[in-house]
């Protein structure tokens, strides 16, 4: 089945220690998104790639970076995680254009100790 895969599902990192979360997709979608979701809140868009074009949301901290080496993979790098970065991180994809729906991965829950 075509899908969006996130690894790992649970990640524990130390305060200030860089961490990378990974997302892959078999849908061949143009657009990939990263969201941060804190407990009992709506997902908050951090950034997205439309093909190779990177689009950062205005309020995304510089601590968050992303890489998309090819169509299938997208990475979220947190350079110096703080306690406030503990959250669920959701990756999503969409075909792009024509107002198409997003397909979400299962998420990675990040704990910062």
């Amino acid at each position: 089945d075509a899908m969006v895969i996130q690894n790992p599902r649970y990640q524990v990192t130390q305060f200030g220690k860089p961490v990378t979360l990974s997302c892959s997709q078999t849908l061949n979608h143009n657009v990939m998104y990263w969201y941060q979701q804190k407990s009992s809140q709506a997902p908050k868009l951090l950034f997205h790639y439309y093909d190779k074009d990177f689009n950062n949301e205005a309020d995304t901290p510089d601590n968050f970076q992303s890489r998309r080496p090819n169509t299938s993979f997208c990475f979220l790098d947190i350079r110096s995680p703080g306690l406030g970065d503990a959250a669920m991180y959701l990756c999503a994809t969409s075909r792009g254009g024509d107002l198409r729906e997003q397909y979400f991965g299962p998420g990675t829950r990040l704990t910062v100790t």
Binding site: V31, S40, A42, P43, Y50, M88, G97, L99, G107
Partner: protein, 116 residues
């Protein structure tokens, strides 16, 4: 500009009774509208979508929603709640112009509790 308002943060229903989750939107474009469901510690699953075709949209698991342009609403309904419907539900509006990127705006979510 666009926004989404989910009018209830929590809804509680008895099993077997109807479900109504309310969503109002505003958009400068002709938007697409979606409802997603999220079970605890899971990703979001698409329930249904409106993309300017039929105004009454049927989704998975017996859910449906009606797009009412005059009321700028897209309420989610189900005739009979099941215990497995207990989850958080997000109303999402998507719209925009240009290269194809559509700005996506989430509502704040409605937590549905189903009482046995």
């Amino acid at each position: 500009a666009q926004s989404v308002t989910q009018l209830d943060s929590h809804v509680s229903v008895s099993e077997g009774t109807p479900v109504l989750l309310r969503c109002n939107y505003s958009s400068s474009y002709s938007p697409s509208l979606f409802w997603y469901v999220q079970h605890p510690n899971k990703g979001l699953q698409l329930l249904l979508k409106y993309t300017s075709a039929a105004t009454l949209v049927k989704g998975i698991n017996g859910f449906e929603a009606e797009f009412k342009k005059s009321e700028t609403s897209f309420h989610l309904t189900k005739p009979s709640a099941h215990m497995s419907d207990a989850a958080e539900y997000f109303c999402v509006v998507s719209g925009g112009v240009g290269r194809g990127y559509q700005k996506v705006t989430f509502g704040t979510g409605t937590k549905l509790q189903v009482i046995p």
